[in-house]
Symmetry: C2
Subunit: 192 residues, 2 copies
């Protein structure tokens, strides 16, 4: 069923509001039109391109929010964060992140994105990872954008904070991890 231009533009606006880091390529596929059409639609609707949208979100200046580490030590770009609640970051997989042979993203980069997000979400000046269980659900390739979502699940009986991180490429989950985080109230534990 072909949408009218007006219908498509309305849907497009809604889609970008809901999933602001969607690319023009993904939008074109979603709406069954050319990338050029999406670009024209965005111009008519005065919606900036993805790179500008990300920049303006990042300008929210998360450094004033994040406590556990300087913002430039987070792997990936923080897009949303509420301390001790949830956080989102994105990481564009470039050549430096993949095995040279098969262009598959190396596990430790997906781990680093998730782990540093788990550190950043903690409302404490000292946050360290004690333990982690992770799964790589499918291969991620060069050029893909990984969106990591961290959710704080609460504290366990040892006073460690449990953070769950799920990472997606478009709507497909590619990584999941459970992180047990120390915070400074049990800092002594780490020096045993």
């Amino acid at each position: 069923m072909k949408r009218t231009k007006q219908e498509r533009q309305q849907k497009l606006q809604e889609t970008i509001e809901e999933t602001p880091f969607i690319t023009d390529e993904e939008l074109a596929r979603k709406f069954g039109v050319s990338i050029q059409t999406i670009r024209l639609d965005r111009m008519e609707l005065s919606i900036p391109e993805l790179r500008e949208r990300i920049k303006s979100m990042a300008k929210n200046n998360w450094q004033e929010t994040v406590r556990a580490l300087p913002i430039d030590e987070v792997i990936g770009e923080i897009i949303d964060l509420e301390l001790d609640q949830r956080a989102i970051s994105i990481l564009d997989i470039g050549r430096e992140h993949v095995f040279s042979r098969n262009k598959i993203a190396r596990g430790h980069h997906l781990f680093a994105q998730a782990n540093s997000l788990a550190v950043a979400v903690i409302d404490d000046e000292l946050a360290l990872t004690a333990k982690s269980e992770i799964r790589f659900k499918r291969q991620v390739k060069e050029g893909e954008r990984v969106v990591a979502k961290a959710t704080v699940k609460g504290n366990d009986d040892k006073g460690r904070t449990i953070v769950e991180v799920n990472s997606f490429v478009e709507h497909e989950r590619v990584f999941t991890g459970r992180f047990e985080m120390y915070r400074s109230n049990d800092q002594k534990e780490m020096h045993k």
Copy 2:
């Protein structure tokens, strides 16, 4: 009990043969003498300094042995490797590996060393991590040397190879991980 010089030199030679990546500082502490004494002992015994010992081991040219990835994609330096059996690598923790605030090594670097060693030890041109459980046992600081030891434990019922990695600073375990590795015989699994 004070050893004679001859006794000490004999012990020193044995110690270096058993644990070839021990530093002069560690040797001095172990034998209760000054670093200068250790250096003189080494000169008399014609034992090269640590950096040279590592270089000569690395010259064993592990690239001809490792199958799953180019040797320069291994994080850390491979010191010993027997495919599908065991492997050892060392990683010197520098400024680029630590949190700027507290000089504690970031978890993803210890993970990267262990994970890439788990990949390297697999006797297959395609090896990917499916799942991992890890624990950070104690903080690692800038300037410390991490020795990671990977042991292949065999295959599970899904045909994945289990690799256990334990990482040490001197004789203290700082990291432990269990990695479930895909190999190309179940490569289709990854494309589901």
